[in-house]
Symmetry: C2
Subunit: 140 residues, 2 copies
Amino acid sequence: MGKKVTEALQKLKHHGYKYTDKREDMLEFFGNYDGYRTASDVQEFMKERYDGISFDTIYRNLHLFHDLGILEATELNGEKHFRMKCDTSKHHHHLICKECGKTREIELCPMEYIEKELKGFRIDDHKFEIYGVCYDCQST
Amino acid sequence: MGKKVTEALQKLKHHGYKYTDKREDMLEFFGNYDGYRTASDVQEFMKERYDGISFDTIYRNLHLFHDLGILEATELNGEKHFRMKCDTSKHHHHLICKECGKTREIELCPMEYIEKELKGFRIDDHKFEIYGVCYDCQST
DNA sequence: ACAATAAACCGTAATTATTCTTATTTACAA
DNA sequence: TTGTAAATAAGAATAATTACGGTTTATTGT
């Protein structure tokens, strides 16, 4: 079991949530992929090993993991996408491949350069994402 | 009738699309608001003057306007948002108020500063948006 | 180990935003 | 003014997501 998965399970326990096989498998699914996946990607993966798994289980756990800061989320093509949260110590943004959902980190954060333009506006959130096709997906 | 609306109607005609009252009113709706609106905002506005207007009409025209470059679009809270296209001569991004959808332009485009990080990645699109609450909406 | 209990889960129905379909109406050109 | 393609209405269909009532399961205290 990967380090991130172990940490995530500890975080669950620490917040009083229960350990279940389904949660472990969902976390493994994300832990083994450096990119964004949709709810239906998760569902496809999960229904191979749990016949008849409910939508509710997928979505409930995705939200739970997101609320606990285990996953990060973005919205793309009208669908929510999730991935394991990157190293939280440095704020960053992503290049996102539209084929495979894999990401590459961008160090630069444009927010640092535009404070002066934001007068009077209360900032709650910001998004800087670049969409395209990664090297691997270009050759297929 | 605003200048942008007139231009948009000319663009429609130029591409062989027909002039209709509904299209004019939809364009007026966007022309009078410097911010993003959803399909249901449009629908609410339109059904006051056209009882029984169809969803299809709203969505079909939104897509048409977008395809012709009359409107620009973004996605927010699982819902598509549209606004009159800003002056196309200078590339820019937006501060978006989550209460009223109004926007303020940001001149800086972070893409200029990160070419070196993009090696091997084919860029199709990018998004730089800041979400929050504008000055007017903070005081209500 | 065993029972109590709160959380997790299933099956399915409901919602929400959006798209599609078919028949009818309308704008506009000949 | 009439023919025709485009636009529309009405409502069904779809896709992603959320909600709900009943059942099962993980965990905690005995």
